[in-house]
């Protein structure tokens, strides 16, 4: 019955049509593969922001250090691939290593509350980036290691790591397009499951009042760490995909603070703590970034490159969201829907009388 009712609405059909469109994109060759790349990045970023949202949105623990997991995922894959492990097999391992690292610093850091946790995550993120930048030197100059790992490069320092490119690059990219799409749907499914499960209820309780949650039996330390690990696992896998797709990684890109900020921004723009929010936020983020990174102003004598203006735009957007609509685009949509209902409801009432 419920299914029949749902099919009568227009929404699932539009969704299905959209998914079919996305499936058709690679074979269409719209804009010379440009749309395909853009969609691939969007899939990846939707997964990232959905992953962040489990800890930051559902459990309410704002992390500014999620680039750590992204970078660890990327480096795990790169290091293993360079040692001859098949790339796809490194993906679950990348997620697991990110999750274990999350447990390592999450356990002490999650004892902090609110903004103190956020500040600690900034520290952890930067410390990890610097560690990865200097890890090779640390190993090379360490007599204790006694020759272990000292031939060849491990992380490559600031120059990063280069992966071998496959011969047929375009079919490889198409494979990753569908792979990232599947990954995104898996992430959304996981997010939906968390939201509607006992686990999610516990996370929402922690988010809204941690003391009250604790007194009615929620093991807050355990659940917060579990949320962090799940979040890190998803982000770690994304890092692995990124490394395999780009063939080149360096600490500044994958461990950099802008990456962490991106993961905070996307769910915040879209609607923090909701299922659809991270999707909308990621789409806005990718499109804005793509449009503005290549834009130039040229009015008369004024010539201005807008390539760094996206940061300014995000900053302004963030201020507006926090001031007027803390639930982001999803909140705006709900507000519009209520307004529309009131309006049309009024019209209907007048018609019937």
């Amino acid at each position: 019955m419920q299914v029949q009712e749902a099919l009568r609405s227009w929404k699932p059909w539009v969704g299905l049509l959209f998914v079919l469109f996305l499936l058709w994109v690679p074979s269409s060759g719209i804009a010379g593969g440009y749309l395909q790349t853009l969609c691939f990045l969007t899939f990846l970023y939707v997964t990232l922001s959905t992953g962040w949202n489990i800890l930051g949105g559902y459990a309410g623990q704002t992390s500014f250090g999620h680039a750590t997991f992204y970078g660890l995922g990327a480096y795990t894959t790169a290091i293993l691939v360079l040692r001859g492990v098949p790339p796809l097999m490194t993906m679950p391992l990348a997620g697991l290593i990110a999750a274990l690292y999350a447990l390592l610093w999450g356990y002490p850091c999650l004892r902090l509350r609110g903004q103190y946790f956020a500040i600690a995550t900034i520290g952890v993120g930067e410390a990890t980036r610097l560690l990865m930048l200097n890890l090779d030197d640390l190993i090379k100059n360490n007599t204790w290691l006694n020759g272990f790992l000292q031939d060849g490069v491990l992380t490559g320092g600031a120059t990063g790591l280069m992966l071998p490119t496959p011969e047929n690059i375009s079919s490889y990219a198409v494979g990753f397009y569908y792979g990232a799409m599947g990954l995104m749907f898996l992430a959304l499914l996981a997010s939906w499951w968390v939201k509607n499960s006992k686990f999610g209820l516990g996370l929402f309780a922690i988010n809204m009042d941690i003391d009250a949650a604790e007194t009615i039996g929620v093991n807050t330390v355990y659940y917060k760490n579990l949320a962090l690990m799940l979040s890190a696992f998803m982000v770690g896998i994304c890092g692995s995909v990124y490394a395999q797709y780009m063939f080149y990684i360096d600490p500044q890109t994958v461990f950099g603070f802008p990456m962490s900020i991106a993961m905070v921004l996307m769910p915040t723009i879209g609607g923090i703590g909701t299922l659809a929010g991270p999707i909308l936020g990621a789409v806005v983020y990718i499109v804005v970034q793509d449009r503005i990174l290549t834009a130039n102003l040229d009015i008369g004598t004024l010539k201005l490159s807008l390539s760094s203006m996206h940061l300014l735009l995000y900053g302004g957007l963030l201020v507006l969201i926090i001031l007027f609509e803390p639930k982001g685009i999803v909140g705006l949509q709900q507000r519009l829907a209520r307004w529309w209902k009131r309006r049309t409801g009024g019209v209907m009432a007048r018609k019937t009388t």
Binding site: K198, L201, G202, F204, A205, M208, D209, D211, A212, A213, E214, T215, I216, G217, V218, N219, T220
Partner: protein, 255 residues
Amino acid sequence: MGVLIQGDNVCKNFGGLRAINKVSFEVKEGEIFGLIGPNGAGKTTLFRCITGVYPATSGRILFNGKDITRLMPHETCVLGITNTHQVVKPFPDMTVLDNVRVGAFFGRGWVQHEVKDAAKEAMRVLEFTGLAHRASSLARNLTLPDRKRLEVARALATRPQVLLLDEVVAGLNPTETDMMIALIRQLRDNGITIVMVEHVMRAVLGVSDRVMVLSFGEKIAEGTPKEVYTNPEVIEAYLGKSYAAGGAASQQINA
């Protein structure tokens, strides 16, 4: 009636301040145990020592003979001790039903497999506490009396053996107070032991079987409500030395 909670020389220091000093007490199964005292006497602190929010500095607290002094609040909850908060703490953006579902899902009832269906259990508790008609409204939209009821309902959904009520009637008008007291009696009749901190004397002395009085972190009296409010030391703690002396004198004249 067996002893359910036993406190043994419980002390709690905050830095140099001794908030609770060597308090020993026993809460018996099935009773309503009142805890009173002037502001700052350490009532809420004692509650927090029992539930585990603050571990006691020294001394021991036993529950059913098991040492719970060092346990965390969620651990004591799963054993069967739950409290309500003096300043109500609903989960504001959840529905009333979901608020109570959290208790049903994570409390002793679920862990002991007494509760199989959290939503059903939550609805049962809401009906019992008279909140069923608000089940689908957001907790943030409740009035204060309803929030206090929600606080009790959420604690009840964990299926506690002992319920620690921290000023549940504070801020309620006389009618609402009477309704809350009726609810507390009903809980006791259902086999839940109640420990309550209260400032409203009419409420606590009317409903309690036994009362303990704290003043500046020390236990100064314990007994039936009547024994306690005629105790000169208690009168002194609440109303000052001269009043206590005068009261004692007038009692002697009357006798």
